[in-house]
Each structure stands twice: as structure tokens, then as C-alpha cells.
Symmetry: C2
Subunit: 350 residues, 2 copies
DNA sequence: CTGAAAGCGCTTACAG
DNA sequence: CTGAAAGCGCTTACAG
């Protein structure tokens, strides 16, 4: 038999403390205007009965609608990456509409300083209850965060690497370790030779992020596979012709290249090069589960993609705000995203 | 500015339809005792206002407590695997206690027919609202499922491979594809030679599951790497001495073995063998993120573990019941678990 | 077949 | 500083 003990409610607490419902409510929420004596009586009763408030009834009666903001780069021809966290955010939005939660997105083109600033101002002047954003993308971020802190408006970072301690939660990606992982995957395939690191660098790239990943692979090889060396090239011109010129030369100068590592999601650019070259001996490892990248996984040009659950990150970020603001539960300040390995025989299930 | 449109409620519907709240409620829940005319008026009003019931208010007023059952093998010395889904189930339980949901677990020792039967009877005679279970583990399962179907008690499979169409949801693991994935991972490391498949078979093992995985790797190699052959050994005696005798012989008879594939979570048994042998040229791939397996990942004896998010499966299963029974939302009948690849440089974040 | 009223657990004005 | 009453949106007896 299942027992159905009735949970204790405010009424029980009020009765035991010998005060009114309103007083219990005031104590419960630390509202002013309660005598020390009443406060104590109520606290005692709460403790004795082990009272747990019913958050849902509370929300029903408050008739509050929560609005969460999400400040993200727009999907662009340069990169479809940001569509993924957005998708997760929208999924959470849909799931939470039961609970009177709405998400309002603030999108901007990466690099468009004016648009970023405009969106930040919109957020500052809005009455959202919480915010999801990506790490510092411009100086204006500081203003935004300061505003949030002053208003006690909680914010959650996704795609983070910035250890912001004032955020409600920071969803962090292990960058260094992802570089190490790439090194380990390469070393599973070959024991000597050279790995070419191609950094397709666009204006918005953070050098810190890229360099941390590269340090990971370099350290790994130094320690574990000293027979594999490293060579790095930065490419800023993304048309296939320039890429061909540069990479052709690099490969003919370095016939011992066994692997190519691309420390961001732009691995498609080099995959295209290898596709047209009809060359397949060199192992390719890069980042992110984008449609185009998966195409190259399918036809055996890319060997591994390291992925960081971007959709899940967006979903989780909204859930963290919900948990904190609506359910009044504790939220871990730091969440570390697993490093997923995507390859030909598992990408369909990701 | 954020708009705060008041959502429509039963009262609005009642007013527009010109009937009482109670009638709206009756129509809403298909309760008998409503005239066709009233029904029509209410339906029209619902449609016109695009009324969405507030499930949480509904639950509050119903004062119903939901109890979900979970029928799982107990953690044993043989295997700690089942502790993981259980952990996920408990996490969901904790999260959902806000919503008046409780989980009751029914555990049994694998192989103990009497205990299984006893637990099944307990479930049949309980008044749980839904059930999480693993696929058919004995003939008695049929009785349990029939009972659930008759009572319209929804059930969710985890760790499933059984395509049960009557379940509310079946959380399925791609077995064949996981074998293929193992093949692909091996083929990344070597191009010829032999893969030894060791099936550590205990009484509860399902041949179908093991054979499907093995078919996956065999088919993959046949198609893509015909220079790699396969050899399979079944081992039923799990003490290290017998294992040593069998594997020593297999390896000396087959000096071309480059990889060992273990199609279940018992990879630790062979990892221990290799550890004591101090031999490291042979690549080891097996299943499941168990503590002991991760130990062997750390010290480079196991190369890859294929994992199926057991904790997540348990968590999701409870969430599916919640979504269906409490939130009255649609639930996808089939969920396919991603195939995670665990290796030395990412296992710490899993 | 139908509806008015009370209640779920909590909060919010309002009056004292 | 305190409490009685009304209300959030929905459901459940109960009376007709």
C-alpha cells in the first residue's frame, strides 16, 4: 500500500505558532513588519513540522509571469553554430510555458558593435527576471553584467570559459582538455610524424580560447607522444583558392603530416579542400556538430568532431534560471560540459 | 516592455459558452453526464479562446499524489551497472517532489526468479500510477505488462531493445550500431590482423543483445576493413586463472590479434588480465562507464568504452511518466540513446 | 444533465 | 505589527 500522508501547509504552521497565515507568509519570505517574538514562534513551528512550502501553489497565487532573456549571436553564413544553443533555449521555453515562463531572445550579428550595444541597452531597460548569455564578447558586456549585479538579476553563461563568480551559474567547456583529447585521438591513429594545426581566424575569434585548446594538444604530445610534432598556421582568408595555396605548400613542405587539427568549428573549410583533393590519408579532427561537418564525417573526410552539447547548454541555462527563480532551489555555480566524441558510426544518434 | 497578457481560464470559457465552471470541467475531461449541446458550446468556446488548461492549478486542486514504480536489478558484486539508472531515477524523484511525485523502487537480484516474481506481484497489487522497467527479463514480465495494459498503467522501458509498442515510451540503445562503432574505432588504430571477441557470459545475459552487437562489428569489418578478421570466445568462468589459461592460449595461437572487443560491461575482467601481463599493444574496447572500467581507462589498458548514459536513461524514464501523467503532454514513444565514446581524456567529465 | 459553493496551498491588499 | 478575507485556476462533492 502506498501511504498518502498529507504534507504540512502554512495553515498547520500558523496554528502551531498561534499566529495568522499572513504572519507565517511574512516570516517565510523575510518580509519586514514582524515582531521578533512572532518570528521566533513561526520559525519554531516550521522547524518542528519540517514545513516545506508548495512552490507551485505559491506561484499560482502570485500570478507572476517570469521572463528570461537570452543574448546570443545570430546564425550567420559564417557559422550556424549559434542556432544550436538557441534551439535548446527554445525547447526549454516551450517546456516551461506551463509554469508561466517565457524566453525573450536578443540576437546580434557577431562583430556588429552597434547592434550588440543596442541589444544590451534593450536588456538593461527591460524587466526580464534573468539572463542567459555568452562570455564577454565586447567591452559593453561589463556594463551589462554590472547592471545585472546591481539589479540582482541572475545571469547564466553558456559556452563559457571565464570563471565568472558572480553569475548564478556558468556552463563551462573544458578547452585545454579538449585539445588533449584531440591529441589522444590522433595518437590512437599514428605514432609519429606531424600534426598540422590550422586556425581559421575570423574577426570575432578569441585567441585565448584557441590557444588554450592548442596548448592542450601540444602538452599532450610533448608528454605522451614525443615522436609527433606540431606545426601551426593561421588562415584569415577563407576562400578555397587561398586555402588551397597555403595548405598545398604546407603539405608538400611537410610530407610527414599525418593529422590536421582545427581548433574551432570551421573544419568544413579544410574538409572541402581534402574532398576536392581526393586525398584521404590524413586524419582530420575538429569541433562542433554542424550539419556541414557531419556531411564530411559521413564521407570519411573528417575523422572526429569534438562536441560540447551546445543545444543542451542552452536548455540547461534556462532550466537553471527556472530552478533558481521559480523553484527557489540551489543551483550549482559551475557546470562542466562533457567532451563528446562524434564519429561516423555514432553521429546519427547525437 | 514585456507584455503580460492574462491567459484565458475556465471561467472565461464558461462565460463565453454560457455554462457553469463544472460543465466546462466535465467537457474538458470527457466526463459523462453532459448534453451534446453543452459539449458543443464548450468546445466552441475553448477553440475560440484557444484555452490552455493550467495543469499545475489542476494538480493543486486535485490533491493527487503520484507514485511511480521502478523495477530494476539490484547492484551486485557481479555488476554495479544498475546503480547508474537507479541514480538517475532518484535524481528525478528528488526533482519532482515539488510536484507531488514519489518513486518507489522494486529491486531484485538478477537470476533470483522467486524474488522477481515477488516484486512483480507487489507491483501488480500496488496502486502506482506508472512504471519504469527493463526489457523482458523473465516469463513473468508478460504477466506484469498485461496487467499494466489492462489497468492502463503506463510503463517506460529503459535499456531497451525490444520495440514494445504498447509502452508509453521505450528508451532504446542502438546495439548493432554500437558494434559498428567499436569496429570503426578499432579500424582507426590498425588496418589488419585480428580482433578477439570475448563474451564473458553470465546466467542473465541475453544472447540476442550480445549477438546483435557482434553482428555490428562483424558487418562493419566485412564491409570496410576486410583485412581485419574476427575470432570469438565465450567465457563462463570468471576467475582470473581460467581467464588467463584461455586468453593466453588464444593469443599465442593468434599472434596477429590487435584488438579485443568485449560486448558487455565485463571488460574489467580482461583488463585485469592485461594489467597483470604488463602487455599494452592490444587495443581494448568494451562497454559501460563503471568505476572499475574507468580505472583501466586511466592507466591506459582500456582504450575506449562505449556508453549509453544509463543514469540519464533512468532520469528520462521518470520524466516521461511525469510528462505524460502529470503534465498531460505527448511523449515520444521511442527515444534512442546516443552512443557515447569514453576515453582517457574525456571520462572525467562524463 | 447542470450549477453554486467550498477547497487545494499560498499571497495580497486592506483594515485595524 | 497583525489578521480576516478574497483570490490565483482548477476540481470535487452536493443539491437540484
Amino acid at each position: 500500500m502506498i501511504e498518502n500522508k498529507k504534507p504540512v501547509n502554512v495553515k498547520d504552521v500558523a496554528k502551531l505558532a498561534n499566529v495568522s497565515l499572513a504572519s507565517v507568509d511574512r516570516v517565510l519570505h523575510n518580509r519586514p513588519g514582524v515582531s521578533a517574538k512572532t518570528k521566533e514562534k513561526v520559525h519554531k513551528a516550521i522547524k518542528k513540522l519540517n514545513y516545506q512550502p508548495n512552490i507551485l501553489a505559491s506561484n499560482l497565487s502570485k500570478k507572476k509571469t517570469y521572463v528570461f532573456g537570452a543574448l546570443l549571436p545570430r546564425v550567420s553564413s559564417q557559422s550556424s553554430y549559434w542556432g544550436l544553443p538557441l534551439k535548446g533555449i527554445q525547447k526549454a521555453d516551450k517546456e516551461l510555458d506551463q509554469y508561466a515562463v517565457k524566453v525573450k531572445t536578443f540576437l546580434y550579428d557577431q562583430g556588429e558593435k552597434n547592434e550588440i550595444r543596442a541589444q544590451i541597452l534593450k536588456i538593461i531597460n527591460s524587466n526580464i527576471d534573468g539572463l542567459v548569455l555568452t562570455p564577454k564578447f565586447a567591452d559593453d558586456t561589463e556594463i551589462l553584467l554590472q547592471d545585472c549585479n546591481e539589479k540582482q538579476r541572475p545571469y547564466v553563461f553558456i559556452d563559457s570559459n571565464n570563471q565568472d563568480k558572480k553569475s548564478l551559474c556558468s556552463i563551462e567547456q573544458p578547452l585545454y582538455e579538449s585539445g588533449q583529447l584531440a591529441g589522444q585521438l590522433f595518437s590512437f591513429g599514428f605514432q609519429k610524424g606531424k600534426i598540422l594545426i590550422l586556425h581559421f581566424k575570423d574577426a570575432m575569434d578569441s585567441n585565448v580560447i584557441i590557444n588554450t585548446k592548442i596548448k592542450g594538444i601540444v602538452d599532450f604530445l610533448k608528454e605522451v607522444k614525443s615522436n609527433i610534432s606540431i606545426m601551426k598556421i593561421v588562415i584569415s582568408d577563407f576562400d578555397q583558392k587561398s586555402i588551397k595555396t597555403i595548405v598545398d605548400k604546407a603539405l608538400s613542405d611537410n610530407p610527414d603530416v599525418n593529422g590536421v587539427f582545427i581548433p574551432n568549428s570551421k573544419i568544413g573549410l579544410i574538409a572541402k579542400y581534402f574532398e576536392s583533393k581526393n586525398e584521404n590519408k590524413i586524419q582530420l579532427i575538429g569541433y562542433d556538430y554542424l550539419d556541414e561537418n557531419c556531411g564530411y564525417i559521413e564521407n570519411d573526410i573528417i575523422d572526429f568532431l569534438i562536441c560540447q552539447k551546445p543545444e543542451w547548454q542552452g536548455y540547461q541555462a534556462i532550466q537553471k534560471l527556472f530552478k533558481h527563480l521559480v523553484l527557489k532551489r540551489d543551483v550549482k555555480q559551475k557546470v562542466i560540459v562533457p567532451l563528446d566524441i562524434i564519429t561516423k558510426k555514432n553521429y546519427k544518434f547525437y
